[in-house]
């Protein structure tokens, strides 16, 4: 398979970026999208040109590193998977493929396709935890948790923090990301003690980072590689309301 690749090139945070066109040749359908980029980069290095910088690591769809916009969609044209899990068999031979970084004010571009998503970490630092120190906790089976609740908490906890929800949202809102963590801990008995502070602190930090507001278009759910449900947003809103009412 052969492709024309239109890739975003940007020297650094302070420079202007632009698209550059490359050809990807001798690509096989079983290659992942990132392996296709590897092949293009290999050719660029051979020609003494700088390869296209992109974040990647586990290549199994779990580390959340490989956030990029492919053919106008976060992680490309597939449902429920990260860019590293997108295979070239999903494209038609000869396709023009545009690839660019996730765009959001809170995710500044560092270089080419690499963006800075540390805003997510700061939101987690503001409240995405249960305040227990190591040691001195009760036996793991001391507090039963109904299976349905544990499963629902798991579904929310499956978030990989890739930022696709933000990139897909026209407001660049981080609501689904925050809601997933708030939900997980609000559902579980272990998270009850800090329920109110948590939702308030995380949402305050989200605003501070420059993410937009949620206007319920659900693009986030549609593009989430872990298919995190927007019902978590409703749950978070209830949590926030409860916290506000004291």
């Amino acid at each position: 398979m052969n492709f024309t690749l239109k890739a975003w090139r940007q020297k650094d945070k302070n420079s202007e970026g632009q698209f550059a066109t490359y050809t990807a040749t001798n690509i096989t359908p079983d290659m992942s999208f990132l392996e296709m980029l590897d092949a293009v980069n290999h050719d660029l290095v051979e020609k003494n040109q700088e390869p296209i910088a992109f974040d990647h690591d586990c290549r199994e769809g779990i580390c959340g590193s490989c956030g990029m916009f492919i053919k106008g969609r976060a992680h490309g044209p597939q449902k429920g998977g990260a860019a590293c899990q997108l295979h070239m068999r999903s494209f038609v031979d000869g396709d023009l493929i545009t690839v660019e970084p996730f765009r959001a004010k809170a995710f500044p571009v560092i270089k080419d396709l690499i963006v800075d998503r540390t805003a997510f970490d700061r939101i987690m630092q503001a409240g995405g935890f249960v305040s227990v120190n190591t040691g001195g906790v009760p036996d793991a089976n001391a507090i039963p948790v109904p299976k349905t609740i544990a499963d629902e908490a798991f579904n929310a906890a499956a978030c990989i923090g890739c930022g696709a929800c933000v990139a897909a949202c026209k407001n660049a809102s981080a609501t689904l990301f925050v809601a997933a963590k708030v939900s997980q801990l609000a559902l579980l008995p272990q998270g009850q003690a800090e329920r109110q502070q948590r939702v308030e602190a995380m949402l305050a930090q989200m605003d501070k980072e420059g993410f937009g507001s949620c206007s319920n278009t659900y693009a986030c759910e549609a593009e989430c590689p872990k298919e995190i449900s927007v019902t978590n947003i409703a749950r978070m809103n209830r949590e926030y309301l409860k916290a506000a009412l004291g």
Binding site: D12, A53, M124, G161
Partner: protein, 637 residues
């Protein structure tokens, strides 16, 4: 130098308690005076950084990702062991200890393994308290499943994403300490060297991966929790960035490297599809609970697997090992898979695969049941191969997965460099010659949550720390050496990419230092690696600039280290004239092709002292004493 493992005296069950009592303490108000550097934010690094900060130490934490949560612990699927005995199937600390030391083919320390089993229960408690959503029964209590190498169900799990959930738990604890200011965290920093002052580890040189600048940081102790070195094989289940640079450069500064040849080849991975493949993907070994492994009895049987009748299938693990069946330890399962493929009975387009079949489980319990337990793994399989494993058996083949070897540490997890501690997969300590499934997460978190917080205090309380400055010669020289190395790499301007070299190294390693090894092959590999290393240093091409975000330069530094480490692995494998666990020397097998140990000569840890690139390192032996278990030939029949 005589290796002192500092294993305490007394009965096995009392060793850790006795030792803890004897460890010196740092009083609460003095803890803030100590500054600890933690490199790596996987399970071991995050849990250590968080726990030490909670105690009041000042901690500086580094990772080469943009966020601590992206460390490769995140990808562990199956679970974490603890002998809680919740299922009432007669599990105990002793049984987990015994299974682990036997699983490691009697090449680990009794005292370390027993301690690991002892503290593992507290890990589960800790994780639940953090809000880790482990799988539960309908009654609301925690569910357990069984794993290879054990006949009890002691594995706690969170669907197929246990590593992710445990890491997010440790990450949340770390995040809380970052927010409090107790941990200063630096992202996108690659550790380039350890700084030793007056014989003590006192700092690190890291490369800021965004602007390429070298930065130095000072501490009173340095903890390396930087993971394993499986990527020396190029293709492995490790993440692409996983590398050995931190531990290898510490090795070159004086830390001994123990048992480098103990590398684990995991039996249940998705087979290689093409040359372009950049990594291999593991399918959790938990699949072996309900999947049955088989190949056709006839060589070259290319029929659709569903068309091959029962009597023409060879369920070879069930045949050879009736009591453990498909749940034999990883090394055994991998070797047997290779054996049937070498016999020409492998399946799939390459013939390098065996079937893992869920048809019986689906018939017995229904598709929904299988989906609930393994759904995400089936999805992952389909995504990669395009095949539906509910309808046709999965194809699996072994792949490099975990490295039991690593930097030598004593019972306190301190390396041979005073003040440098090594945690998790980066050390060699607990798994001997083979790691059992669901034990890596256990060890990483045991080291970070429950061992280092006690043992580091003993070191800090017992030593005096002279003030050091970033402009003193140990720091400036270390920095200059890295700058020079970078300049050398960039100045070569050769013809081959870093990846080309890495792939070639990987092929040599897989061919001659992989699942089965022999003297001739190992000697050949050592020569080939030395040659390749020379070519690398004269023909590698690194584009871009040193003072910029430059992934090719990052890789070049890492591959330069793999070129040295690969040789060390081959040398260790050559010297160990026995088979044990994952290390199979073809010259040393039983009549039934099982690993044949030589306990008289090789019941020791081989700890290698660096002696210069291309020069033979010095071997130091730490004798392993077995006072509580009988050194038996491992049998899973």
């Amino acid at each position: 130098m005589i290796l002192d493992s500092k294993i305490p005296d007394g009965p096995l069950e009392k060793k850790w308690d006795t030792h803890r009592f004897n460890l010196k303490l740092v009083n609460p108000s003095n803890k803030r005076k100590y500054h600890i550097i933690v490199v790596g934010t996987g399970l071991a690094g995050s849990s250590a950084a968080a726990s030490l900060a909670e105690l009041g130490y000042r901690v500086t934490s580094f990772c080469y990702h943009e966020s601590p949560r992206r460390a490769h612990s995140i990808a562990a699927q199956g679970g974490i062991n603890a002998p809680k005995n919740y299922p009432n199937d007669n599990d105990s600390v002793w049984r987990l200890f015994y299974d682990t030391i036997k699983g490691g083919d009697f090449r680990a320390r009794e005292a370390n393994v027993y301690r690991l089993a002892q503290v593992s229960g507290s890990i589960i408690d800790q994780c639940v308290a953090q809000g880790v959503p482990f799988a539960r029964e309908y009654g609301g209590l925690l569910d357990n499943r069984s794993f290879g190498g054990a006949q009890v169900s002691r594995t706690f799990y969170a669907r197929g994403q246990t590593g992710q959930q445990l890491l997010l738990g440790a990450y949340s604890a770390l995040s809380r300490q970052i927010h409090k200011g107790q941990v200063k965290f630096y992202d996108r920093r690659d550790m380039m060297d350890l700084v030793v002052v007056d014989g003590q580890a006192r700092g690190v040189v890291v490369r800021n991966m965004v602007n390429g600048e070298l930065e130095t940081y000072i501490g009173d102790a340095v903890i390396l929790a930087t993971g394993g070195y499986g990527n020396v094989f190029y293709l492995s289940t490790n993440a692409k960035q996983s590398n050995a640079t931190a531990i290898w450069r510490a090795h070159k500064k004086g830390a001994f490297f123990a048992n480098p040849c103990f590398t684990q080849i995991h039996p249940t991975c998705i087979p290689l599809a093409s040359e372009h493949q950049s990594k291999l993907t593991l399918m959790s070994e938990s699949l072996r609970n309900d999947g049955r492994i088989w190949v056709p009895k006839q060589k070259g049987d290319k029929r659709n697997p569903n068309d091959i009748p029962m009597e023409e299938r060879d369920y070879y693990l069930e045949r050879l090992y009736p009591s453990f069946g498909n749940l034999v330890p990883r090394d055994v399962a991998s070797r047997r898979a290779k054996e049937v493929c070498d016999q020409g009975r492998g399946v799939g387009p390459t013939g390098l695969a065996v079937y893992l079949d869920f048809a019986d489980a689906i018939q017995r319990n229904g598709k929904a049941w299988v989906e609930e337990k393994y759904g995400n793994l089936f999805d992952m399989y389909q995504r990669i191969t395009g095949e539906n494993a509910y309808q046709t058996p999965m194809r699996i083949y072994p792949a490099v997965h975990y490295t039991m070897g690593g930097l030598w540490v004593d019972y306190n997890l301190m390396s041979t460099i005073p003040g440098m501690f090594v945690l998790g997969e980066a050390n060699f300590s607990d798994h001997g010659a083979n790691r059992l499934g669901a034990s890596a997460l256990m060890q990483g978190l045991a080291d970070g949550y429950f061992v280092i917080p006690y043992t580091i205090g003993d070191y800090l309380a017992a030593h005096k720390f002279k003030p050091v400055k970033e402009d003193q010669k140990e720091f400036t020289e270390a920095k200059k050496a890295i700058t020079d190395k970078t300049e050398r790499l960039m100045a070569i301007r050769g013809n081959r990419t870093v990846d080309d070299f890495h792939k070639e190294l990987g092929k040599i390693m897989w061919e001659y230092v992989g699942m089965a090894r022999n003297e001739k092959g190992l000697k050949k590999a050592m020569t080939m690696i030395a040659d390749l290393r020379k070519q690398f240093w004269s023909d590698v091409k690194v584009p871009g600039k040193a003072n910029d975000l430059n992934p090719e330069l990052e890789k070049a530094h890492r591959v330069a280290d793999f070129m040295e480490l690969g040789e060390a692995i081959a040398r260790d494998a050559l010297h160990r004239e026995e088979s044990c666990g994952c290390h199979l020397r073809e010259e040393h097998q039983t009549e039934e092709n099982e690993a044949k140990r030589n306990d008289k000569k090789f019941a020791y840890v081989a700890a290698w002292e660096f002696n210069g690139v291309g020069k033979a390192p010095k071997l130091h032996k730490e004798e392993l004493k077995f006072e509580n278990v009988h050194l038996a030939q491992r049998s899973y029949k």
